[in-house]
């Protein structure tokens, strides 16, 4: 005992200054945390200061203390002086272990005492509750110190082992059912640390004590094995190269992690309940028995479309599951695609298919587009391929009956039908609207078929819409333009396409849209917009200003991202309408004016502007 006392005095003499500094630090931290809890807007109890101290500062304190008491002693080989004394090695270990534990346990005790003293002013603390917190934090401190002490004996390998332990824990947490936050010592200092007033966390306490025992056993073995030479050899400092090698291994581990991307699985998406019509690889949710007939007809048609597309495009894998949900609040032509998370979840789309005005064929073509996109891992939506996707879907759904090319004819009023326009499909979509762009692609596909025949189109489409090779290998081979030029005579195609649109009637009244930015007070800006018709505005037409703020980088803006100010065109008048003060000088905005007529929605104008 006397020898232990002497050793303790030596440790206190050697580290006394640091320990006093740490005491001051603990006091300062606790004071700041208490202040933070007092003024924090969402504080439940003042004991939160103690919880933060235990979770954040105690481990930091432990790491620093472990370095000071254990690592430095072995690193500087000063333990040899102790070994030369008439002492057992175990006594040296016990002294360091005891001192570290005393400091950490003392720190959390002081932390709890201060927090409890201030909480007592307003809160109904009970001895049972405080005892629970005390036991939780003491066992946590014991486990923490046992692990850190042993890690200190690992010398130069302690950092790699810390990193490996951390990575393994995160991997287990993210890739398996194991929950780190509720396990053993982590569970002790979880959210319940200061809120659980009744139940003792026996499982966490037991696990923590077991971990502490194992860690201590390992530590003792390391320190005593082969007369301490193992610990001493481990204590040699790591060379810079070794350090960086560890860093490099860590980097590769992180890269591998990024590639593997471990995550929890859930069951693949499916509809629950009875109101579902099912076909192979297809489910249609109809909500109410009254809609069952519509759902069955739609399911049969979509199932046939998918089968036809699978054969025509030569896919080896079947299309993933397709789910169609009835959404009665959607307009007859307002379809929605929902992004599902899992790879096996398939496709989920919504439509108001019970609406008498619902155009089933247009919807089926749209669903087929989405299914092709999924089958090609999104490659079919790549800009130069997008028109082929839309055209192929339309050809498969409409067959020999070409849909009305009216909206494409409207586009042809403003642009010459050239392949270059198809290549820049997103621009066409933004400038003229999605319905017009879809009609343009469809009319181009039908023109292609009329020039080269259906087998040539199938060959071309199945080449463009083939599932891509991974990564940059998808970029190998001919470009979409080269494929197109190899498949058809571009001049003949463009001539036939233009001719088909020249004779078609668009069904869109001739109108001119105007848009101007008007300065308001200070930096505020208003948007004045209007539509002037050649003749009287159609009585059933709606005019709308679409607008959205833009980021610094140009991206496709989907219709759902656009705000819409809609008025009957007949009410718009000569002066037009104003969007007051929504944007300011220097904002980047997308502004579009849309006309809604029975033929569809067409954009008369669309601009990306940086406001002056």
């Amino acid at each position: 005992m006397r020898r232990l006392g002497g050793l303790l005095l030596k440790e206190l003499w050697q580290h006394g200054g640091v320990l006093l500094l740490l005491a001051a630090f603990v006091a300062a931290v606790q004071g700041i945390l208490l202040l933070g809890s007092a003024v924090g807007p969402r504080t439940i109890t003042m004991l939160e200061a103690h919880a933060t101290f235990t979770r954040v500062f105690l481990p930091l304190l432990g790491i620093a203390l472990g370095h000071r008491l254990v690592v430095r002693e072995y690193h500087a080989h000063t333990q040899r002086f102790l070994e030369a004394l008439p002492l057992y090695r175990g006594e040296v270990l016990v002294t360091k272990l005891g001192l570290g534990l005393f400091v950490l346990a003392g720190a959390v005790t002081v932390s709890l005492a201060f927090a409890a003293a201030i909480a007592l002013v307003k809160e109904p603390l009970t001895w049972h509750w405080l005892t629970l917190i005390f036991v939780r934090t003491q066992v946590f401190a014991l486990t923490l110190w046992s692990v850190l002490f042993t890690m200190g004996l690992l010398g130069r390998w302690r950092i790699p082992v810390y990193l490996a332990m951390g990575l393994v824990l995160v991997f287990l947490d993210q890739g398996t059912d194991f929950e780190v936050a509720r396990f053993g010592p982590f569970g002790l200092v979880s959210e319940r640390l200061i809120l659980e007033r009744h139940a003792a966390p026996w499982a966490e306490l037991g696990t923590s004590l077991a971990i502490a025992a194992i860690a201590l056993g390992l530590g003792v073995a390391l320190a005593l094995l082969d007369e301490g030479s193992v610990a001493e050899s481990l204590a040699k400092p790591m060379s810079r190269r070794e350090r960086v090698a560890v860093g490099v291994v860590l980097c590769f581990a992180l890269i591998a992690w990024d590639v593997v991307d471990p995550k929890h699985d859930k069951a693949p998406f499916d509809f629950e309940g009875d109101a579902v019509v099912r076909r192979e690889g297809l489910a249609v949710l109809y909500l109410d028995e009254a809609n069952r007939g519509d759902a069955e007809a739609l399911a049969d048609a979509i199932a046939a479309d998918l089968a036809r597309a699978h054969d025509a495009l030569g896919y080896e894998e079947p299309f993933g599951p397709v789910h169609v949900a009835l959404r009665t609040t959607l307009e007859a032509d307002g379809y929605e695609e929902v992004e599902l998370e899992g790879e096996d979840d398939g496709l989920l789309v919504r439509a108001g298919f019970s609406d008498p005005a619902f155009d089933a064929r247009a919807f089926r073509a749209w669903v087929l587009e989405r299914a092709i996109e999924r089958a090609t891992d999104g490659r079919a939506a790549f800009e130069p391929n997008a028109w082929v996707r839309t055209g192929a879907a339309a050809l498969l759904v409409y067959g020999d009956e070409a849909p009305d090319p009216g909206l494409a004819a409207f586009w042809a009023r403003h642009r010459r039908p050239r392949y270059a326009a198809l290549e820049r499909f997103w621009r066409t979509e933004e400038r003229f609207g999605p319905e017009v762009a879809s009609a343009v692609a469809t009319s181009a596909a039908f023109a292609f078929v009329s020039v080269e025949g259906e087998p040539a189109w199938r060959a071309f489409a199945s080449e463009v819409l083939a599932p891509p090779a991974p990564g940059v290998f998808a970029m190998a081979g001919p470009s979409p333009r080269e494929r197109f030029e190899a498949a058809t005579d571009a001049a003949a195609f463009e001539a036939r396409w233009a001719a088909s649109l020249r004779t078609a009637s668009s069904g869109v009244p001739r109108a001119t849209a105007s848009l101007s930015i008007e300065p308001e007070e200070g930096l505020l800006r208003s948007v004045r917009w209007g539509v002037r018709f050649r003749g009287a505005p159609p009585p059933d037409a709606f005019c709308a200003l679409l607008h959205a703020p833009l980021g610094p980088f140009d991206e496709v803006v989907t219709p759902s991202d656009l705000s819409r100010e809609e008025v009957p065109c007949a009410e718009l008048g000569e002066a037009g309408s104003r969007l007051v003060g929504r944007y300011s000088a220097a904002d980047r905005v997308l502004l579009a004016i849309e006309l809604e007529v029975p033929a569809g929605r067409v954009r008369l104008l669309a601009e990306r502007r940086e406001l002056d």
Partner: protein, 639 residues
């Protein structure tokens, strides 16, 4: 000097490998995993995305600090610094050579990052996304990274003086910064990783000069201090102090001094906490100010242990009479067992909320709440939260991004059933329906808290969440709310799911279907909009933004699209970016222009604005105790 610099550089080459891997390691796998002709520049260089969080800053800072730690500690610990001192090179130049070598490695990483990100993004030739790379943005952000690298390196050099203990003061500073951010959101700039968060005005990257200058200055001070510690007089002073500290008298003096400082800090904290939280509302009020006395009383019912301010005993007693009935009602609605006795703290005073709850604790404010019906409702709402935490075994909080709307919405739904408040419910439904219709929201906007926060008023989780909970109950049965909570805690429930996947999984576990619930919810919102047309038509649309600046005051103007009731009030919310928490949002009340009733002016002190580029939201309030109608968030700049 040059030879010394090259020697230092040679010794740091392994760090160059590490830096290259950290900064440009994606070059190893991205080309094999992703189609580069579909990738965009800011998709690859994610640190350029507007408002992206500070993760890149953290990684970069840790790297720079590691490099800084390689400069001096080892030379001193192993005594090799004496060899350097023996060279015919002056001490400042030794310091400069080491710092220059370290910074060369840090900045090489910056250059590599620019090169590899650019090289991977040139393959995209699509019409919109092909031309993203821009020299002005690239060079500006590189300059920011260079400056940030210097700042992190300087602090690393200073921290390395204390070796491992160097992380402790910095951890403390970060905690203080985090507290400050909660208490005074404009102080967010203190967090250095905020410096690298990209904000844009139009297509130009905005540089927040104020924070950069402040952090640059502090970094220079840190560098000078590090110089003094490693090379200068502090080295000698430290040795002297070490000798003094080795004596008993020195230890005693040192210990007493630090203990005194600690006691001082504690005394200060005790003083502040006894005063209580200072939630001074920013919105002015004409009502007499009511305060809770420090003196408290305690009461015990079958289901609660209650603490309340002694000066509000009558109000507390009126509430306490009913709380066991409220508890029983909540228990019945959720199909739950009785559970433990709850702690109810009625001393809460907050301008941010009416109450909060966690596990077995709830805090509800009696102060300023004279309406007994509302008080019962708030108490019921917080009691539901306590039940939610227990029934879901705290899983609801683990998946907060997916469950926030449900936590608040189902609490409102159950509270309106247990403690009915017809007018308040009607007002909440009207605001929800107006926002829903005018902003063309979808259920996906509500389910994902991050999506909601990006564009909409986050308080919609209460009113819209209430209607979604009603749709859940009508579609899946009255027990569905309680069942959903229990399903979250079921054995083997997958974790870390995205919001939609979370709800698909949870509802499937109770034999229900998210699409069916969402469809019912859509229909319910349409019905509400139709039923409450008269109330909705009374709510104005608000256009506007920053109009100008008068000295230290920024003028935010809202222009109304219709005449409104004179009692209607207006306010603007301000936040740093779409990821800001509710507690980091500042609210400023507006004044109607007496000459132009459709014009509302909000005068905002520049000091309250979180950054030079920020977001604002214009709101109108037709019932001072109800929910506001708000436009979507929009970006703005300080003129």
């Amino acid at each position: 000097m040059r030879a010394l610099y090259l020697k230092e550089l040679r010794s740091l080459w392994p760090f160059l490998v590490l830096t290259s891997l950290l900064m440009s390691g994606d070059l190893i796998h991205r080309p094999f995993m992703e189609r580069l002709d579909e990738q965009t520049w800011e998709g690859i260089a994610s640190y350029l995305r507007a408002g992206e969080d500070g993760t890149f800053g953290w990684v970069f800072a840790i790297l720079a600090v590691c490099i800084a730690y390689a400069a001096f500690p080892r030379e001193h610990d192993e005594g090799t610094i004496r060899f350097l001192h023996s060279l015919p090179v002056r001490r400042p130049l030794i310091f400069v050579a080491k710092v220059a070598a370290g910074l060369t490695i840090v900045w090489t990483g910056v250059g590599l990052l620019l090169l590899t990100d650019t090289a991977q993004s040139v393959w995209n030739t699509s019409s919109f996304e092909g031309g993203h790379w821009r020299a002005d943005i690239a060079l500006t952000h590189v300059a920011m990274q260079v400056a940030f690298g210097f700042i992190a390196y300087a602090h690393g050099l200073l921290g390395s003086v204390l070796r491992r203990f160097g992380i402790l003061p910095y951890a403390l500073v970060l905690v203080v910064a985090s507290i400050l951010k909660d208490v005074f959101p404009p102080a967010a700039w203190i967090d250095p990783t905020e410096l690298l968060v990209a904000r844009y005005e139009g297509s130009h990257l905005v540089i927040a000069w104020g924070p950069w200058i402040a952090h640059g200055f502090v970094a220079l001070v840190a560098l000078a201090t590090a110089y003094a510690a490693w090379m200068g007089p502090a080295d000698r002073i430290g040795a002297g102090l070490g000798r003094a500290g080795a004596t008993l008298a020195g230890k005693l003096a040192f210990g007493c001094g630090t203990a005194l400082a600690g006691v001082g800090v504690l005394a200060l904290s005790a003083l502040v906490s006894s005063i209580g939280p200072s939630d001074e509302p920013i919105e002015p009020t004409d009502e007499p100010v009511e305060v809770a006395s420090i003196d408290t009383r305690q009461a015990r019912t079958a289901r609660y242990e209650v603490t309340y301010p002694a000066n509000l005993e009558a109000r507390a007693s009126a509430l306490i009479e009913h709380i066991d009935a409220i508890h029983a009602g909540v228990q019945r609605e959720l199909g739950a067992d009785v559970g433990p006795v709850l702690v109810a703290d009625l001393t809460e005073t907050s301008s941010e909320h009416l109450g909060i709850a966690s596990w077995t604790h709830l805090r509800v404010g009696l102060v300023g709440e004279r309406d007994v019906v509302r008080l019962h409702h708030t108490f019921a709402h917080e009691t539901v939260h306590a039940f939610q935490h227990r029934l879901s075994d705290l899983r609801q909080g683990d998946a907060e991004r997916a469950t926030h709307f449900f936590a608040e919405g189902s609490a409102e739904h159950v509270a309106f059933r247990v403690a009915p408040n017809g007018p308040a419910h009607r007002q909440a439904r009207a605001v929800a329906a107006a926002t829903w219709a005018r902003h063309r929201m979808s259920s996906d906007d509500l389910i994902d808290e991050r999506a909601l926060r990006r564009r909409f008023d986050t308080s919609l989780v209460y009113s819209l969440g209430d209607r979604w909970s009603a749709a859940l109950a009508s579609t899946c049965g009255d027990a569905a709310i309680g069942d959903a909570l229990r399903a979250m805690a079921r054995e083997g429930a997958p974790r870390d799911l995205a919001p939609r996947a979370f709800w698909e999984d949870t509802l499937r576990a109770i034999g229900c279907d998210l699409e069916s619930v969402d469809a019912a919810f859509d229909a319910l919102m349409d019905a509400d909009a139709e039923e409450l047309t008269d109330v909705i038509d009374g709510l104005p649309r608000l256009g506007g933004g920053v109009a100008g600046r008068d000295g230290a005051t920024v003028r935010v103007v809202a222009l109304l699209d219709r005449d409104v009731d004179p009692s209607m009030t207006f306010f603007v919310r301000l936040r740093s970016d779409p990821d800001s928490e509710d507690t980091e949002t500042i609210t400023v009340r507006g004044q109607r222009d007496p000459d132009a009733p459709r014009r509302v002016v909000h005068r905002v002190s520049r000091a309250l604005i979180p950054s030079s580029r920020f977001q604002l939201q214009l709101c109108a309030l037709d019932d001072p105790r109800g929910w506001p109608f708000c436009e979507t968030w929009q970006w703005a700049s300080v003129p």
